[in-house]
């Protein structure tokens, strides 16, 4: 049972259904976010449906580019023999 599931995420032949499934999940999450009750929201932004999706995407992009900036421009990334 495990092998086909892992295969679904790896094999080239499932690339299209995989992508469709992914977009479907994203869509359903947004829909669900509009439907859930938000009685206990502590902060303003928490009342906004879909804020978490935007924040998740934004965080991801920010982390990638800030890190790569620090790595390449600020000189954190060095050749592997740096300490030798």
């Amino acid at each position: 049972m495990i092998k086909p599931v892992v295969g679904f995420f790896g094999d080239e032949q499932y690339a299209r259904p995989r992508r469709r499934l992914f977009y479907l999940v994203l869509f359903l999450i947004i829909v669900a976010d509009f439907l859930v009750s938000r009685d206990h929201a502590e902060y303003l932004w928490e009342r906004l449906p879909g804020w978490s999706a935007a924040y998740g995407f934004g965080s991801c992009v920010l982390l990638i580019f800030v890190s790569k900036f620090l790595g390449h421009r600020a000189g954190l990334m060095r050749r592997e023999d740096y300490y030798d």
């Binding site: 859930v36 009750s37 965080s59 991801c60 890190s67 790569k68 954190l76 990334m77």
Partner: protein
């Protein structure tokens, strides 16, 4: 006392006979010891055990309460899983070191006073260092020496703090530090923060863990940092500094993970990040926050152990550790992929996995305590966690470009260990009740609310969208990243340069001067001294001796040996004295 068997003792004494067993007997014995320890922890009753006196100080070998029981429970479970994972090893050394390491960690968790704590603290450092040394390659041995030196330094700082604190407080009993922090408390805190790998004291972890043996790293990922979390929760709950250190730490680990190419070093940076949640939770210090930190430590040990086991299996099978050299393994190792992903989804806090029920508690505690910034930063770190551990690492390790590597599933014992850990990650996620019941404070928290589930999925799946879009930007690069170990690695080199160049040159110059100028002078003065001695001093000494001899001869002639002569002399003396008295005084 009879109803209490110290679990640390089971491991440490249990480690001694390992080298004398072989084959199936050793394997059964290795599994038996952690099982016994689990039973001992389950049977343990809260209370104080082993009170005694040492150097006039109160010693409390074991103080058992709910907080120590949670940590002891997960430590013994992880010890069993880690031991099963390592069962295929033929040598006894790593097993012995791992048992002493686990035993020492349990010793710290139950320690009721600072001296007992310190003893086991050092035991942990040395036993765990062996797991890095055992890897054997030059790179690993150098990393192990650095690891050991950092921990020994941290130990000295801790000991200094303990002595100062003991002198100020008048007691070495281990408990919450009360009132304003004094110098002793700060040193203790620094010692603890070093083991918790709080930046800038984090580099030992990401330096040494990826160099450890495949099986050793599994143990290391579980014990040192979580013991530190335990002692922080015990001694420093509610310290504001910890909130900010923890928050920075959560993001620090995630940022470095983006740059990392070594699969286990990437996971090690995520230990830093995850321990950040725990440190922040302890800093917030409310009941919910400490519960969150504790439950997160519990869940973390299992899923991080699982992730290290998965990455270790890949290294074991392929002999490669760089993401830029891995890929396409999913066909050959589907079970490893599945188990690894259970750990990855757990660390990313997907609903129905263990991280979800523990991490959300810390974030909820931050929100409840009106710390919006902390909450947002920790949420951002969750996004980064999924990005690396859940997407980047498995993509480049198991999927991605097929490098045509010869691979197979790892040995059965490794798969069993991963399977058990994966099952626990899922079981805790679905049924958090038993874990919540173990926590130090009563739990009034429901992780599975509609909004919480949809928000978590929103953050995670849209992180995945970001990953898909910017996949090329994340391609691993064959580089290493500079961390705070730069200071002592380069510092040590500068020190060696100083010792080999200016210092050695100075030493040579000094010896040259002494050979050309000082030595002849010394020779000359020694010769003069001898002449002076022979002619001057000896002459005086001889003269004195001769006059004493002559004086003795004169005296000898006066001595007749006849008593009446002496009596006569005495009477004459007496008369003379009376005359002197009469004439001079009167």
């Amino acid at each position: 006392m009879t109803d209490f068997v110290h679990p640390a003792l089971i491991f440490i004494l249990g480690a001694l006979p390992i080298p004398f067993f072989t084959g199936l007997v050793r394997k059964s014995y290795l599994v038996l010891i952690p099982v016994l320890a689990i039973v001992a922890v389950m049977a343990i009753e809260p209370g104080s055990y082993g009170e005694t006196q040492f150097l006039g100080q109160e010693i409390l070998i074991a103080k058992v309460d709910k907080l120590s029981i949670v940590f002891a429970t997960v430590f013994t479970i992880m010890a069993l899983i880690g031991t099963v994972y390592a069962l295929h090893l033929s040598g006894a050394g790593e097993h012995v070191a791992a048992f002493v390491y686990v035993g020492s960690a349990l010793g710290v968790v139950f320690a009721g006073d600072y001296l007992t704590l310190y003893l086991f603290w050092e035991g942990m450092a040395f036993a765990s260092a062996y797991l890095v040394f055992a890897q054997g390659a030059g790179q690993a041995i150098r990393a192990a020496f650095r690891y050991l030196m950092v921990h020994v330094t941290g130990g000295v700082v801790l000991l200094g703090g303990i002595l100062l604190h003991g002198a100020a407080a008048g007691s070495l009993l281990f408990g919450p530090v009360e009132g304003a922090l004094d110098a002793g408390a700060y040193l203790i805190l620094a010692g603890f923060l070093l083991n918790a790998a709080v930046p800038p004291l984090n580099a030992w972890l990401t330096d040494a863990y990826p160099e450890a043996t495949v099986t050793g790293a599994v143990f290391m990922s579980a014990f040192t940092t979580k013991t530190a979390v335990y002692v922080l929760a015990r001694a420093f709950p509610g310290i504001e500094l910890l909130v900010w250190l923890g928050t920075v730490m959560a993001l620090y680990g995630v940022i470095y993970a983006v740059l990392e190419n070594d699969c286990r070093r990437l996971l090690a940076y995520h230990i830093v990040s995850q321990v950040g949640y725990m440190v922040a939770g302890i800093g917030i210090g409310t009941e919910l926050a400490v519960n969150g930190a504790t439950s997160h430590a519990f869940a973390h040990i299992l899923y991080k152990g699982l992730l290290f086991m998965g990455a270790g299996a890949v290294i074991y099978v392929t002999g490669r550790r760089k993401l830029s050299e891995l890929g396409g393994l999913y066909k050959a190792m589907p079970l490893t992929v599945a188990f690894y992903m259970a750990g990855a989804l757990a660390i990313s806090a997907f609903p129905f996995f263990s991280g979800f029920v523990s991490k959300s508690m810390v974030i909820a505690a931050a929100a409840q305590d009106h710390r919006a910034l902390v909450m947002l930063a920790l949420t951002m770190a969750s996004s980064g966690t999924f990005l690396h551990t859940g997407l980047k690492l498995p993509y480049y390790m198991f999927f991605g470009t097929d490098r045509g590597l010869q691979a197979r599933e790892p040995p059965g014992n490794m798969l069993v260990a991963m399977g058990v850990a994966a099952a626990l990650c899922i079981a805790i996620g679905i049924f958090p009740g038993p874990l919540y019941a173990l926590l130090p404070y009563p739990v009034d928290f429901e992780p599975y609310t509609g909004v919480h589930v949809s928000e978590s999925l929103g953050i995670l799946m849209f992180t995945a969208l970001g990953f898909v879009i910017f996949l090329r930007a994340l391609d691993p690069e064959s580089t290493i990243s500079l961390d705070t170990d730069w200071f002592y690695r380069k510092g040590a080199r500068a020190f060696m340069w100083f010792a080999e160049r200016p210092l050695a040159r100075y030493e040579k110059a000094v010896s040259d001067v002494s050979e050309t100028a000082v030595l002849p002078f010394l020779h000359g003065s020694a010769r003069t001294g001898m002449r002076l001695d022979l002619n001057g001093v000896d002459g005086v000494v001889n003269g004195v001796a001769r006059s004493i001899l002559d004086g003795g001869g004169v005296l000898r002639r006066l001595q007749t040996g006849v008593v009446t002569h002496y009596v006569l002399a005495m009477i004459a003396g007496l008369i003379a004295a009376i005359l002197v008295f009469a004439v001079v005084w009167r």
